[in-house]
Subunit: 314 residues, 2 copies
C-alpha cells in the first residue's frame, strides 16, 4: 500500500511535469517488485498456469502499459526463481465506461506477451449522493465544520469498505492488491495538506463567481468535491475493519508538485492538472460555460498565492 | 453452424433494411436456442458456476447485446431444466482493436446480468498477404481463372484452420461454437452468387476509373477483395480436416437483400452497405480520395443493372 503525498521540488522539464502518473508509477515500481518477490504466494495457484493482473482505473497509455509490464516482469522472476515455468498472463484494463478504451486498445504494445481485455466497470461508483451535512461557502471539508469533516470521513470509510469487499471476491488466496491512493501524513491537519489548499483555492474562485453574479450561492453551497485525503491510520483502520486482507507494507511515496518553466507558470500547470481531473464533475453541477473562466482564475490565484511555498515548508 | 445466403425479397422499411445483422441474429436465434437445449453438455462444467460467452466480431450495439442476451437466456433455461442454479455470466466482446469499443461500452444495457469485457483481438487477421495468382482485370475470384479460384479456396481453407485451432484452445469440453458465415449453396457457380456479382460490379467501377485515368491498371490488378463465399461442403470439409469439433447442425439462413423506398433506391442501399464493409481496405490500397466517386458509381450501376432480379431467380 502506497501513499502519494508531498515531497521534493526539483527542477524538471514540462513534459515530465505534465505526467504526474508516470512519477507515481516509477515511485511505486520498487515497492511492488519487492512485495511480489516477498509476499506473492504462488504455490497456492501456480498449478493453473494462468496469471491474471487487473489495472483498476487504467486510463489511457503509455503509463498503463509500463505499470503492467513491471508487474509481469516481477511475477515472471518469482515463477522462475521457484522453478515454475512462465505462466500465461491475462491483463484486465478496468476503468469507467467513459474512459477512452479505443485509444487504449489501439496503443497496446504490439510485442506484449499477455492477453489484454478492457473491462468498462467492476463496480458502481460509490459516492453519488449529496453530502449529508450543510457546507456553506465551501466545496470541500478542508477548514470546514466538524460535521462536514465527519461526513467526508464516513463516506471515505464506506467507499473503502465497498472497494475492499469487491477485491476480496476477486483476488485468489496468496494474491496481492497494490493500492496507490492520495493521502496525507498522520497528524497533519486537513487544512495544511497541499491538495486540500488547492481545493480551497478552487472554492474561493467559485465564490468570486458568485460575487460577480455568474453562478448562484446555492449552487456553490450544494457542491462538494468527492475527494478525501486519508491518513495511513485511517487506511489501516479500514483494512482491519474489513478483515479480508492484511497490510504487508505501507509507504509514503514522495510526489513532486508541478513546476513551471520559462513559458509556463506553476499556477498554469497546477490549474491544468486540476482541470483535467475535476472539470467533469464541475461541468455536471455548474454547466460547461463557466469552465474556461474558472480555471483561468485558478491559474492566476495560484500564481499570486504562496501555496507552493507551503509545499516546501511541511 | 448457419449460412447466410440469398432468400426472400419482402417489402420493409429503410431502418430495418439498414440493419442486415439484426436480420441474421433473428434468423439464427432459434437455431442457437435449439443447439444449446440439445447439445450444450453442462454436466462437464456446471461445477465452476461461471459461464463464459464470447462474441467474436462483436462490432457495436444494439445487435450485439441482443445476440448475447439470446444465448444467456437459452443457457439459463438449460441450467434450470437440469436443476442447476443460474451461473455467473462473463461476456467477452471481441473485435479488431480499431472497433469502436467506446460506443460499445457506453451503450451496454444497464440492467444486464453479466460481466462484460472488451477484447481487442483474439488472433491476428489471417489474410494479410497478396494473392499468389495474377488476377488481371478483376478484384475477386468470381468469373476468374481456375488458378485464382484455387488460390482463394486455399486461403479460405487456411483461414478456417487458423480460426478453428484458436477456438479449440478456448472452448471447454461440452461447449458450443456458433459460426455465422456468408456462404453459397452447394452446386451454385461462384459467378451466380449475388454478393459475388456485387463484387464484380464494384470491380467494373474501378476499371471505369482506370479508363478515366483516375487510377492505374496495375493498382486494380494487384487488388483482391479478401472475401470468399464457401459452400456447406467446403465448411464441412474444413471442420473435418481440423478434427477438433464436429458439426451438430448446419443450416442455410434466409437473408433478405436491401430494398429501397420512395426516397432511397435499392442501388443506394446496396452501395451504402458495401461502402460500410469495404471502404477500409479500398482506402488502404487506392487512397481515400476515390471513395465518394467509386461508391456513387456503384450506386448508379446497381440501379441500372438487373442484378436484383437475378436474386429472385436463383
Amino acid at each position: 500500500m502506497a501513499f502519494l503525498v508531498k515531497g521534493g521540488n526539483g527542477q524538471y522539464s514540462y513534459s515530465n511535469n505534465s505526467s504526474f502518473q508516470r512519477g507515481a508509477i516509477h515511485a511505486t515500481k520498487e515497492l511492488i517488485n519487492e512485495a511480489i518477490a516477498e509476499n506473492l504466494d504462488i504455490k497456492n495457484f501456480s498449478s493453473s498456469n494462468t496469471f491474471r493482473v487487473t489495472d483498476l482505473g487504467c486510463s489511457v497509455g503509455p503509463n498503463t502499459f509500463v505499470a503492467v509490464q513491471n508487474i509481469i516482469d516481477a511475477v515472471n522472476l518469482k515463477y522462475q526463481s521457484q522453478g515454475h515455468r512462465t505462466p500465461e498472463f491475462q491483463v484486465f484494463f478496468n476503468d469507467h465506461a467513459l474512459n477512452d478504451f479505443n485509444t487504449l486498445f489501439t496503443s497496446l504494445p504490439p510485442d506484449r506477451l499477455y492477453y489484454a481485455a478492457g473491462v468498462p466497470e467492476y463496480q458502481k461508483r460509490c459516492w453519488t449522493k449529496p453530502l449529508p451535512a450543510y457546507n456553506k461557502g465551501r466545496i470541500h471539508y478542508s477548514n470546514s465544520s466538524d460535521k462536514v469533516v465527519e461526513a467526508y470521513a464516513a463516506q471515505y470509510a464506506k467507499d473503502m469498505e465497498c472497494f475492499l469487499n469487491a477485491r476480496a471476491q476477486e483476488v485468489v488466496c496468496g494474491g496481492l492488491v497494490a493500492i496507490i491512493v492520495p493521502g496525507s501524513p498522520n497528524g497533519i491537519p486537513h487544512s495544511q495538506v497541499f491538495v486540500n489548499m488547492g481545493s480551497e483555492l478552487l472554492g474561493s474562485c467559485l465564490l468570486d463567481m458568485v460575487q460577480k453574479g455568474i453562478i448562484s450561492e446555492e449552487k456553490v453551497d450544494s457542491f462538494n468535491l468527492p475527494t478525501y485525503f486519508a491518513s495511513p491510520q485511517e487506511v489501516e483502520a479500514a483494512v482491519e475493519r474489513n478483515g479480508c486482507f492484511h497490510i504487508e507494507r505501507m509507504e509514503m511515496v514522495p510526489q513532486e508538485i508541478p513546476s513551471g518553466n520559462s513559458s509556463t507558470s506553476r499556477g498554469r500547470v497546477m490549474s491544468s492538472h486540476m482541470r483535467a481531473g475535476m472539470s467533469g464533475i464541475i461541468k455536471e453541477h455548474f454547466g460547461e460555460e463557466i469552465i474556461d473562466e474558472l480555471f483561468d482564475a485558478v491559474h492566476k490565484k495560484f500564481d499570486e498565492s504562496s501555496l507552493f511555498e507551503s509545499w516546501n515548508r511541511n
